[in-house]
Symmetry: C2
Subunit: 449 residues, 2 copies
């Protein structure tokens, strides 16, 4: 009887603590006002930019106000790519009529020649088609990658994964066949006028083979494809002014509450402080930053004294380098810090649905036993899977890396585009995400992995 | 062994059908373009208005294009309340300084006198406070109901239920103590400038006791409360020009696919065609209308021949009378139609989370056995509870009434306000709702209740 009774008490305590975590987040949470500042007073913060510096200063100062045990900056060299003047593009018909289209340079791309680049255009859906067409069809032309995200996949991240090689590797593959540039359909399920940027690579291509690469809006991709279906001789013109500069110094911003029992065992929560430059980076990943801060704020507000050290990490340079994540993991290794649990939020500030776990079966079984504690908050998704880019370098055979999984339906409407702005974030949805992270951290801290 | 094998086949078929339902909805669904028309070409459609007539015509014509077995209009007399010229209000300090505030008349309210109404104002949080203050404190004044929706309730409909008596019964209660008007804090969790309308009653108050009633935006409710906390002698002025006219004829719009085995046993899907007038009624309840239409569209597209008759019902006048729902239920009774399942969508076009079931335990247990079929679509909420207003009159001891339950976090940002517009609806979220309804209808049609 005693066992049963104490186990009831036990579980009631967890229920009560988790309820107070959610209540506090929804009534006295700070994540929304933090995001307002980061998005509207700082804005887009590409690695190496002045805004990224300002974001680092802000992050450090906001963490200091939380009264944590330690707050510091961890230096890291980051790439500095600049967009320059806004891009311009049009399609020219045989008769010379021009139709402007919406493009943006991909992150890391080279510029076009100063007067722009004009050429015939070849549409493909994938690298196999490119190979079949071969050099004779491609040399001297612009390759137009137009494989859309698959609308019938319920998880939009799956649809993204199925397309993103066009953006990331498209230049390398097209360059092999002598293409002079690439235009990639934006990674979005919405048909609209916004081009979506994102990272790309030239791998080890020599400088002379590095071709200008841009994204085109989904609506203009459909238009271009339609025009090509009528007349393959149409020409595409684009001009972009971007440039890769030398690496510059930046920082991960870190704060922690020291654990009462296992101060050298860490549970970390984090997101990335850098963003693309077209919007203000509210969903990607301002949301993850302020939700991670909120976890520590909730612990402080509710006077929860963790057994493990709880750390918030604002990773720098997730978007185009992952330098912050690699530097953080390297430092952790050198200092012999054990990272028991690393929880990342980098999938938007939408209503949280659950978590994706990269962990042992034993840890996962423990998590599954907590599911009922989350039911009142409609948190139902507990699956094994990919955790996230920034916590990736911390993964070991025994620890747990975890990703928050918000509702994904609207994410790619905003991702890397001018529409990733503060007004697209709902206060309650954002707050529920931070509360869910705090509840999970509370349980891991109490029961271990 | 045979049983096991056939049961596996069985369930594979259901999985495949449900997959094709979702795939079709997400790739060839019509709900979004229907909603675009209803919202942007017709707009807000208050019962008895010209727009409501146009919506009826559109609904009938759109159902006819689906090639259903029957499409018809069911006449019903509906109330006709008109807002008239836009309302105006301000707060006047003792020194005579005026601060304009955002209000709108509640649906069904009487107008103020032609020159407006100006009076001192008394803030209360509930009817108990009103009673404690009594006639001496209230007579001749405007009562300001300012109990906010509770932010720490996860289901925002619960928070709404906890507040809405202020709006619906506030005038009756305040009038008893001689109040000359009421101002009600908008039913919204967002702090902004938009007043939210909604229905109210005077019960059997004599005409002379019917006092003008308006909603004030949440931001201005906070402002007003703050001003009152400094100076209780401030005055509130408002002018509104609304009017209740005589009832007019309108229609429920109905279409059906006749069942192959049980043609007189009905499974219906529906929403309400009328809306409030401030926005275009996209979430409330254009979404429910087009999702219900989509169910029949999916059955036709996939050539699913139902055993029961499947009917879509566009109910008229849910917002301020429920006349359509009552007329529909009465006619069904007279014609001896058995309504086995009645599924309503009237909680916004957001990502569907599941369903709320008002049914027998036997039916509910059957539903629970289907849960795994919905898991790939992140449909996880299967609970007993309230179904919906329009299907309410159809409830019997044996049948099932059901409500679609979308994510509720953003609903009350838009509900009954100028922000209930098409751009606030995401195509995929809307489509997933219609597909979820179709999948549930498919299962009920196949396996009964």
């Amino acid at each position: 009887m005693l066992t049963v009774w104490s186990s009831i008490l036990f579980s009631q305590t967890d229920e009560a603590v988790i309820k107070s975590i959610y209540n506090t987040a929804l009534t006295q949470g700070k994540s929304y006002e933090w995001l307002d500042y980061l998005s509207n007073n700082i804005g887009g913060r590409l690695s190496g930019s002045l805004n990224a510096e300002r974001a680092v200063e802000w992050g450090e100062s906001a963490l200091k106000e939380l009264g944590l045990d330690n707050v510091w900056l961890q230096p890291v060299m980051v790439p500095k790519w600049i967009r320059g003047a806004k891009e311009y593009a049009y399609v020219a018909s045989a008769s010379g009529q021009t139709t402007p289209v919406n493009i943006c340079a991909l992150g890391g791309s080279v510029a076009t020649p100063a007067l722009g680049l004009k050429s015939e255009i070849v549409e493909v859906k994938n690298f196999e088609e490119l190979q079949q067409l071969g050099e004779s069809a491609i040399k001297g032309k612009i390759v137009f990658y137009n494989r859309p995200m698959q609308a019938d996949l319920i998880d939009t991240f799956e649809a993204y994964s199925g397309c993103v090689n066009q953006r990331y590797k498209g230049a390398v593959e097209a360059s092999k066949f002598g293409a002079v540039g690439i235009i990639v359909r934006s990674m979005s399920l919405k048909i609209d006028d916004l081009p979506h940027t994102g990272s790309m690579t030239y791998d080890d291509l020599p400088v002379s083979k590095r071709i200008p690469s841009a994204a085109i809006s989904t609506k203009d991709a459909d238009l271009l494809s339609h025009m090509l279906s009528i007349d393959t001789s149409i020409q595409f013109y684009f001009k972009q002014n971007c440039k890769q500069l030398a690496d510059v110094k930046s920082y991960n911003v870190i704060g922690e509450i020291t654990g009462t029992q296992y101060p050298n065992d860490y549970i970390i929560v984090g997101g990335h402080l850098d963003s693309w430059d077209l919007g203000d980076g509210s969903h990607d990943d301002g949301a993850g930053i302020v939700q991670s801060m909120e976890v520590l704020h909730l612990f402080k507000s509710l006077n929860i004294k963790p057994k493990h050290s709880i750390r918030v990490v604002m990773f720098m340079n997730e978007e185009n380098g992952l330098r912050g994540a690699n530097a953080y993991a390297e430092a952790a290794k050198q200092k012999g810090e054990t990272h028991v649990v690393s929880l990342e939020s980098d999938a938007g500030g939408f209503t949280p649905r659950g978590f994706s776990f990269d962990c042992t079966q034993k840890t996962f079984d423990k998590v599954l036993s907590w599911q009922d504690l989350f039911k009142p908050y409609f948190i139902h998704y507990f699956e094994k899977g990919h955790a996230g880019a920034d916590v990736g370098p911390l993964k070991t055979n025994t620890n747990a890396t975890i990703g928050l999984r918000p509702d994904s339906q609207r994410y790619f409407d905003h991702h890397h585009a001018a529409s990733d702005t503060f007004d697209a974030v709902n206060k309650r949805e954002l707050e529920l995400g931070g509360a869910s992270m705090a509840a999970l951290v509370y349980l891991f801290d109490k029961y271990g992995i």
